[in-house]
């Protein structure tokens, strides 16, 4: 079993929040069963695996195998608690550089593997498992969709190494026919385009933003802060009957999302035109 030797924030925080042995003998998807607020909880992180069989998934990406393994790790919890009214919590410790970009990945359907992961997390949430996403590093694009974005509550560190985005800067510049400099300039004034966590927080998608003294070399106070916050998130989820993602619609910069849902509700019922 792998128990040490990570360099990523994800690996560091997984060890700090959930000690003990890995549940599976998997090098990149690390799963620990520990306790949170005195109850069993499953902690999951994706960490770099320099020896990954798939060469495009060696630096913390979510690839084909990682996507399906995330699905397995979550489905096994859903199945184990199927008959129980106490659904154990699932904590996604998020530090994912991106999805794996490669020919093998497209050929074998990486989109389907990530659907496996995203679908599993969504099913866990709908089944009543409290699902928490803790962003301790990068939360990029498809990798974030697969690992964490389906959580009931998202918590992120206010740290320069923490970043949420839909695409790396070079690729985003190429696809939008802009220079990287022009893209960065735009990101200053358009909050959803920015790469920093403060702009992201203004979108209203985060439940809490924490300020640890260090995301990569945390102190015991940092760990205590995170543990307390995870426990508070559990309590908040328990007091909320909504199992979908409605808590994310209240942000300052999500007026259009609210307006669209309002109009849909008003127009949903009604006579079908001839």
């Amino acid at each position: 079993m792998n128990t040490a030797n990570h360099t990523s924030n994800g690996g560091t925080w997984l060890d700090l929040l959930a000690g003990g042995a890995d549940v599976y003998d998997w090098p990149a998807v690390r799963v620990r069963d520990a306790s949170l607020a005195g109850a069993p909880a499953r902690f999951i992180a994706v960490v770099p695996d320099a020896a990954n069989r798939f060469p495009r998934a060696r630096t913390g990406e979510v690839g084909l195998v990682e996507g399906w393994q995330l699905a397995q790790a979550v489905h096994e919890v859903i199945n184990a608690d199927r008959a129980s009214s106490n659904k154990r919590a699932i904590v996604a410790v998020i530090d994912v550089t991106s999805q794996a970009y490669g020919r093998r990945e497209e050929a074998f359907g990486i989109h389907q593997a990530l659907a496996g992961a995203a679908g599993a997390y969504a099913q866990a949430r709908l089944a009543g498992h409290p699902v928490i996403g803790l962003i301790v590093g990068l939360a990029m694009s498809g990798a974030f969709l697969a690992h964490g974005y389906q959580a009931n509550r998202l918590i992120a560190f206010d740290d320069p190494g923490v970043m949420v985005h839909a695409m790396g800067k070079a690729s985003a510049a190429r696809i939008t026919l802009r220079s990287v400099e022009a893209l960065e300039a735009l990101a200053q004034s358009v909050p959803p385009m920015a790469y920093d966590i403060h702009s992201y927080a203004s979108l209203g998608l985060l439940w809490k933003v924490l300020q640890p003294s260090s995301a990569s070399a945390p102190s015991s106070d940092d760990v205590a802060l995170v543990t307390t916050t995870l426990e508070a998130a559990l309590a908040d989820i328990a007091n909320d009957t909504r199992k979908y993602l409605a808590t994310r619609f209240d942000g300052e910069h999500r007026a259009a999302s609210r307006r669209v849902r309002q109009l849909l509700r008003e127009q949903w019922k009604g006579e079908t035109s001839a």
Binding site: E106, Q112, A120, L145, R174, L203, A255, L264
Partner: protein, 281 residues
Amino acid sequence: MNIEQLLNRDSFIERSARNRARALLDAGSMRELIGPFDRVTSPWLAQQKLVTQSDDGVVVAKGTVDGVATVVLAIEGAFQGGSMGEVGGAKIAGALELAADDNRAGIPTQAVIVFETGGVRLQEANLGLAAIAEIQSAIVDLRRYRPVIGVSAGTVGCYGGMSIAAGLCSYLVLTREARLGLNGPQVIEQEAGIAEFDARNRALIWGLTGGQQRAATGLADALVDDDTAQVRSLVVDLFRAGVPAEHRSDRYAHYLERLARFDTAGQPEAADVRALYGKDL
């Protein structure tokens, strides 16, 4: 399709998103929600002095299929590459959420999503990504009650986070012209180099990610000609089949077992993927 059929066919690909939606629903049953005259446009494109569209590239059409309440979410590939921004994404997610609520209230309601999309609209980056997560959540919720059918006809294809959404659908229908993949060829070339993926090699792109290959390898459920009547007829049949016993996205054990058999030292050809996944998967 013979030449006469080809000349007389009613192309699905050539239809606009709105006309695709109309064609999929029972004749005369379509009612558009948040239509162009509601003028809900992207605040973010406007802020960047880019052209907006009065439906933000997504048509929400309510009606019936086979007499059953159905909502069609059709993405217009001709606007901003079918990209998902805040408004278009909220239209899809919000409609799917209401369809799931209807099922809980005892009103069977099903959905078709017509995917013609490059994924997140990068000008609205994080709000597009958030909307896609909400679309995925809503698909997983709704598909417990009634099928969510994905259709991708071309020519844009289905990419990015929306390909993950397509992977969550109960059934997926593709034409030969369609492409389905997570990362677009240009992005792979940018991130991994031309030796990994040559974005100009169209035979490679369609060979590995085209509709025919995806259907042959079980990553799509059906291949259909670019013919509106055939697309509609297939959608009707799939709705009649009901919720599948097991969704493709839940088959982690099968896929992990197959992937473990592949020698990753080399790059796969289309035939390698067909051999590994085959029809028995």
